[in-house]
Point group: D2
Chain length 136, copies 4
C-alpha cells in the first residue's frame, strides 16, 4: 500500500447497497467526502470557522475508477493524500477492502476555494495542511 496523509476505517452499511448486492456507486463519493471532512477536522480546519471568514470550499471536479465492488458487511480503509495544483487542492483518495487490501475505488477530487465569493488560493488552508508554498 502507498503512504497516505490520512486513513479512516469504515464499514459498509446495508442501506448503502443496491439491487445487485453491492455498494451503490454514488456512496463511494459519500465515503470520500466524509473522509476529507474528517481529515480536515483533525488538521484543525473547521468549515464553520471558514464560513465566518467568508471562505467556502467547493468540489469542482471528481473522477472515480471503480475497481472491486464492496458488499454488505465489508470493512474498508478510506485513504487520502492532498496536493496543490495552482488554485486547486487535489485530493487523491483510495478505498481498500480491509479483508484483503484490494483496491475498491480510486478517486481524484479537485477542490477550490471561494474567498469572499471569488476563486482564490486559501493560505489558511495551505498552512494547516502543511502544503509547500508555491510561487505565485
Amino acid at each position: 500500500m502507498k503512504e497516505y496523509a490520512y486513513e479512516l476505517k469504515m464499514k459498509v452499511r446495508d442501506y448503502e447497497c443496491d439491487l445487485e448486492g453491492i455498494v451503490n456507486n454514488a456512496n463511494y463519493q459519500h465515503y470520500m467526502e466524509h473522509t476529507r471532512h474528517e481529515f480536515l477536522l483533525q488538521a484543525g480546519i473547521s468549515f464553520a470557522e471558514m464560513l465566518e471568514q467568508d471562505i467556502v470550499s467547493v468540489v469542482a471536479r471528481i473522477e472515480i475508477a471503480y475497481k472491486t465492488p464492496l458488499r454488505s458487511r465489508d470493512e474498508f480503509l478510506s485513504c487520502l493524500n492532498v496536493k496543490q495544483e495552482g488554485i486547486r487542492y487535489v485530493f487523491h483518495q483510495d478505498i481498500y477492502r480491509a479483508s484483503d487490501m484490494k483496491l475498491a475505488a480510486r478517486g481524484k477530487v479537485d477542490v477550490v476555494c471561494l474567498v469572499g465569493g471569488k476563486l482564490s488560493r486559501c493560505p489558511e488552508l495551505e498552512e494547516k495542511l502543511g502544503l509547500p508554498p508555491t510561487l505565485p
Copy 2:
C-alpha cells in the same frame, strides 16, 4: 381511494432499492417529506420566507406502516391530508402503487412550529393551509 388535499405522482429510482430488491424503508420518509414540501409550496408556503420571520417547522414524530413493498420502476401516488391537533400539524400520508392502487405505506407525521425558538401555533401556516380556526 380516500380523498386527499394533495397528490404527487412519483417513480421509484433504482438507487432507492436495497439488497432485497425493494425500496429501502427510510426512502418512504424521503418520499413523504418531498410530498409535504411540494404541497406546502403550491399552498404558497415558502420555508425561506418563514425562516426570515424566524419560523422553523420541525418533524416531532413519525409513524409509518409498511404494507406492500415498492420495487424498481414502480410508479406511485404520494397523497396527503393535514389536520391541526393543538400545536401539532398532523399530516396523514398514504403512498399507493400506481399499477393497482394497492396501499404501499401509510404515514402519520406530526409537525410543530418554533416561532422565535418557542413552540407555538403558526397562524400564517394555518391560514394558507385553510385549516379551521381552533379555540385557544
Copy 3:
C-alpha cells in the same frame, strides 16, 4: 441511561445533514437499521443464511419521536432492546448525543418474519436473540 442489549457508537457524516444544518429525519431510520443489523450480526444471525432457508425479515411498522436534533460532527450512541409480541419482534431503539447523553430520537420498530412467504414466528431468531419462549 437505561440498560440496552446493544450499543453502537456512530458519528454524523456531513452529507446526512440538510439545509437547516441538522441530520435529515430519514437518516435516523438509517442509523436504526444499521444498528439492528450490527446487533443481529454479533448475535450470530446472518440475513444471507436466513434467506437460504427462505426466511425474510421485514419492517412492518416504525415510530420515531424526534427529541434533539443531531448536527454535523456530533457523535452519538445508538442503543436497542428487543422484545417479542406475538409474531412481532419489537425493537426499542434510542439514539443519544454522546456529548451530553441527551436523547436525540426514540424509535419503536416492528419486524416480522416471512418463512416460506408466510407470516410466522421464527424460532431460529428467538433462540439466538435469547428471547423467552412464549406460549403458542
Copy 4:
C-alpha cells in the same frame, strides 16, 4: 444546447441538499444513474432480462465537472448521449438548470458489460441503443 439522445426533466428534492443549501455532490451521480436507467428502459433494455442472460452492466469510471450548484426547488434537465469505445459504453451526461439552461454538471460515465462474468462487448445492448457496429 447540444442535441441529446435522451432528456429527463427532474426537480431537486430538499433532502438532496446539504448544509450549504446546495445539492450534495453525490446526488448528481444519483441523477445521472436514474437518467441512464430511464433511457435504457425506454430503449427496451431491461436489467432483469439481462441478468437472466447473465449479463451485468457495471460503472467502471465516472468523471463529473461541477459547474453551477442546483438548489432547493430547482428544476433541471438531465440529458445524455452514448458512444461506444472498444468494450466501453461511454455516457456523456449533462445536467442543465431549467430556469436559465445554465450547465449545472457535466459527466462522463464509462459502463462495461460482464457476460457470464467476463468483460466483453454486448451486442444486445448495442443493437437496442442503435450504436454503429464496430470492427472487432
